[in-house]
């Protein structure tokens, strides 16, 4: 009898434990690798789990280049995470295809949806607003300015205070002075572009010259041939078959910059780069031998434009149970309540009105430069087809820089492909 009672008690305990485990909500959070952010977010997760014992958060990181692919394949199999963040160019398709849940403003800590729009800078929530509903909140809004290594400038006999390039034409002359070559091989580059990111860093160059990627009515691709051809001519002259100042096949300039190995003078990057320099090379960070200046402009520009800004938005999977969605928005609201720490420790701008007016933002080195350029720029082109359009621009730029294609021919091919992609939508 005693033995029977013992087994009965064990079975009861097992059932209770199983029920308790079932009542726990597990939230899966997929994001890209960023060591500085991991440190603070792991702390937020612990704090949130302590305050909400019925919730466990599983944070999974992937390399940023792999994120879009991993999230896509998971969603294709209807196995997406509860929440994730991607660049808006990749994320927008999830919104238009009904894969994301509109914001639960109460769970997110706001009295109304209007209060959310009021809390953020104007227009920054436009990319995640679709058919009158809000689908995401920004983890970061990033624009790129020009980072300069003063030591490289001085080594090339330049004065970084006054010789830094203000125009793309000056960028060529300064880079020629900095470049060290061994025959055709460039041992030290003055500057090089961030080649995979044509929409963010190169389309604004075309816009400065009066061109447009897509017409205002969204129906025609590639506007103003003259501007595009001027841009292609500039890129051809930049590449190995022209003045040989850089190429997509050299190591990424932004990665080399932090090392301060006298092999790159300038690169384009966001405010987050400051945190990465501090983490990778504290000596260089503390030396004060680097600076950030505005995105250059063509001397013959007809319009002012800085690098486009792009956003990583936190979004929630609509296929998860309502209970998970609510808890996920609550967690997002909790994390985004630490925007000053995100800025100070990771260098990410969460563009709330309060943050932009805060002392923390003003105290960040060169934050005024980034703010000024953000006012000059606009959000990156985002649509269901933006990744494909970017690939077409990439092929056109590569063809003039590397394959010897004429700018006119490259433009013709780009127009054909971009228009076809636009018409597919």
């Amino acid at each position: 009898m005693k033995r029977f009672c013992f087994f009965l008690a064990c079975a009861f305990l097992l059932i209770v434990a199983a029920n308790a485990a079932e009542s726990k909500t597990e939230i899966t959070y997929w994001t890209h690798e960023d060591p500085n952010r991991t440190e603070i977010e792991n702390r937020y997760i612990k704090e949130f789990e302590k305050a909400n014992p019925e919730v466990t958060i599983k944070r999974v990181t992937s390399p940023s280049k792999k994120m879009a692919e991993r999230v896509l394949t998971a969603f294709a199999a209807n196995q997406g995470p509860d929440m994730f963040n991607l660049q808006i160019e990749d994320e927008y398709a999830y919104i238009v295809n009904g894969r994301l849940a509109p914001i639960d403003f109460k769970a997110g800590g706001y009295p109304s949806v209007k209060a959310i729009y009021d809390a953020y800078l104007p227009k920054v929530l436009d990319p995640v607003t679709y058919e009158g509903k809000l689908y995401g909140l920004p983890l970061e809004l990033t624009n790129w300015c020009l980072y300069i290594n003063d030591r490289v400038f001085k080594d090339a006999g330049l004065n970084p205070d006054k010789d830094y390039p203000k125009t793309w034409e000056e960028m060529v002359t300064v880079s020629e002075k900095i470049a060290i070559r061994e025959g055709e091989i460039v041992k030290r580059r003055g500057f090089d572009f961030r080649y995979p990111y044509y929409l963010v860093s190169m389309v604004p160059m075309v816009e400065q010259l009066g061109g447009q990627l897509i017409s205002d009515d969204g129906k025609t691709a590639i506007i103003n041939d003259k501007a595009w051809i001027q841009f292609f001519e500039f890129m051809r002259a930049w590449g190995p078959n022209g003045k040989n100042l850089g190429s997509p096949t050299y190591t990424n300039a932004r990665k080399l910059f932090n090392k301060d190995n006298n092999d790159i003078g300038m690169c384009l990057s966001g405010l987050y780069q400051e945190g990465r320099i501090r983490a990778d090379n504290p000596e260089f960070y503390n030396s004060g031998e680097w600076r950030v200046v505005p995105y250059p402009k063509f001397a013959k520009a007809v319009k002012d434009a800085a690098s486009a800004y792009y956003g990583h938005y936190f979004v929630v999977n609509a296929q998860k149970p309502k209970k998970n969605q609510e808890m996920t928005w609550k967690f997002i609201g909790y994390m985004l309540g630490h925007s000053e720490e995100y800025l100070a420790k990771v260098g990410l701008i969460q563009p709330t009105v309060n943050l932009m007016a805060s002392q923390t933002f003003k105290n960040m080195p060169y934050s005024a430069v980034f703010k000024g350029d953000m006012e000059r720029g606009k959000i990156v082109y985002y649509a269901g087809n933006s990744a494909k359009i970017q690939q077409h621009i990439r092929e056109a730029v590569e063809s003039v820089m590397l394959a010897g294609t004429s700018p006119e021919e490259a433009l013709k091919n780009l127009r054909r492909k971009a228009q076809e992609t636009l018409d597919e939508e």
Binding site: K65, A68, F75, R99, V186, T249, E395, A403
Partner: protein, 303 residues
């Protein structure tokens, strides 16, 4: 009326047990090979977006018609054919030469086998990452070639030039897999009875004649196997081209069918179109395999 009593023979019983034993693997094979093929064939007849929750629209052969008229797809066919011919023919020839070299060694046979085989066990991602560093304009490849040719400062544009980037992908693939096929040839060579070589030697046959008239014909099944395997492997190539384009190499010259397929599915979300590409690739592979079997008129070799 007398009924016939069927009494299965021992061979029949064996065959029945054979079916029982292969049933699990057959099920596994059908599930993970046949099902995806038929599913891809079915999907290729629809306009289907990867993220869309709407039911896909049946469009018949429109995806195939689109591909036939697409210059990008024809460029992918060109890139795949160039890569396959440029890689699998040298791979078969050199793996046969290397296998003969290794088997003729009296010492260090194991060492050579391991040395040639080791790249095959590396992941393709690691291989491409290593070669990206080597092909960097300031990397080893330029230094080595310039040292050998005494041409200091020349950038051979391993990844930048449209011809060179195709050669670079072939080089990487060749380096990675030549050891693997060498080992298969070694097994084939080892299975030829030594007595045949000894008899030939007694008859005064020299090394070259012996290889050409005795070893090579006896190696025919292995040669066919290696040529089919290597050709299929080359037609399916993906990771080298993918990682090279991620590393800044121009896409167009090395936009092989698998890379185009990947971009169509993952970047453009057009899974119906990507499925049509995969079916075309499947048919190409099937055709060339059949052609090779037909051309070689593969008879069994007995020693």
């Amino acid at each position: 009326m007398t009924g016939r009593i069927f009494s299965p023979g021992i061979e029949h019983k064996k065959a029945r047990w054979g079916w029982v034993f292969i049933f699990p693997s057959l099920t596994f094979f059908a599930l993970f090979n046949f099902y995806p093929i038929f599913n891809a064939l079915y999907t290729s007849l629809f306009r289907k977006k990867l993220l869309s929750l709407k039911p896909p629209k049946f469009i018949g052969f429109d995806n195939y018609i689109y591909l036939v008229n697409s210059p990008d797809f024809w460029n992918s066919i060109r890139a795949t054919v160039v890569f396959t011919i440029g890689t699998f023919i040298p791979m078969v020839i050199f793996s046969l030469i290397l296998a003969n070299f290794i088997i003729s060694r009296k010492r260090f046979q194991k060492f050579f086998q391991m040395a040639y085989y080791s790249p095959a066990v590396l992941s393709s991602v690691v291989v491409a990452a290593i070669w990206l560093l080597i092909f960097d304009p300031r990397g080893l490849s330029n230094q080595l070639v310039n040292f050998i040719l005494n041409t200091p400062g020349i950038d051979h544009k391993w990844l930048a030039n449209s011809i060179m980037v195709q050669i670079s992908t072939m080089l990487v693939y060749f380096w990675k897999y030549v050891g693997y096929f060498t080992i298969i040839f070694l097994v084939g060579l080892a299975s030829i009875p030594q007595s045949i070589h000894e008899a030939a030697e007694i008859d005064g046959v020299n090394a070259w004649t012996g290889f050409w008239y005795i070893t090579f014909p006896l190696l025919k099944p292995t040669t066919i196997l290696v040529s089919i395997m290597s050709m299929l492997q080359c037609l399916k190539t993906f990771s080298t081209q993918y990682l090279f384009t991620q590393g800044g190499a121009p896409t167009e010259p090395i936009n092989v069918i698998t890379l185009n397929l990947y971009h169509t599915a993952i970047r453009d979300h057009r899974i119906g179109l990507a499925s049509a590409m995969s079916i075309i690739l499947f048919c190409i592979m099937l055709f060339f395999t059949w052609l090779q079997f037909k051309a070689s008129r593969s008879d069994e070799v007995s020693y």
